[in-house]
Amino acid sequence: MDGTRILFGGFAVLAIASAGLCITRRNPVASALWLVVTLFSLAALFVLLDAQFIAVLQVLVYAGAIMVLFLFVIMLLNLGRAGPTDLKGPLGLGVGVLLAGLLLVQLLVLRQAGPAAGGPARATAEQGMIPTVARPLFTAYLVPFEITSLLLLAAIVGAVVLAKRKL
């Protein structure tokens, strides 16, 4: 229990630090690689929160497929060098930090409204395993699951139509 908390703290700090580096690096490639570090630490946090299947999906889909797509586009557009800083000016910086800080305070206040901490902790050893996740996915959530395939098909067609020079 205590080890879980220590690991959680470590990976949480890693995730937040690399997210901070991701949004401040000038070079888009460095930004993307720090985002990969964030995604991997989030996968570790998912494991600690009893969501092993989601953690595997996170590594495969996010850190694998989506980030490769990002890096591929960065390389394709030849943006891989650090240009002049693309941060906004002092006014934009001030407003941005103010708004993000306000949002953070609001979210942290909203945290108090969660379910009672002493609620029914239903965390069992097999909660995040594939059978536990798959059974509701293919029974109660079957229709949304099938609609997801339509969404992905639309995305494929849309991406091809947008990226093709001439149909």
């Binding site: 999906l57 990002f70 586009v73 557009l77 997801t148």
Partner: protein, 98 residues
């Protein structure tokens, strides 16, 4: 058990994503910050799923599918914009500005 800390991490990551969207001008970096916000929401879903049942993890599954579709279409849009304007700096993409 870890619900409180997990929600705090989720809130911090979401605020960092918003900060990135507000601060950066590079369209691809802004897009990566949007992905960061989606991941923060996923962390909140997983944290609640530990307490309230497995449905939260199924929602994370759907969020990931939507994120994948969004990344594919969004990056195709960025490619198309780059082909017209030869830049992804949002400062220079102001066709709709009166």
């Amino acid at each position: 058990m870890l619900l409180g800390p997990a929600l705090a991490v989720s809130a911090t990551l979401f605020a960092l994503g918003v900060l990135g969207v507000l601060l950066r001008r590079n369209a691809i970096v802004i897009f990566m910050c949007v992905e960061l916000m989606l991941n923060a929401a996923n962390l909140a879903f997983v944290a609640f799923a530990q307490q309230l049942g497995v449905a939260g993890q199924i929602f994370v599954f759907f969020v990931m599918a939507v994120a994948a579709a969004e990344a594919a279409v969004g990056l195709a849009i960025i490619l198309a914009v780059y082909r017209h304007r030869h830049t992804v700096d949002l400062q220079n993409i102001n066709l709709l500005k009166g």
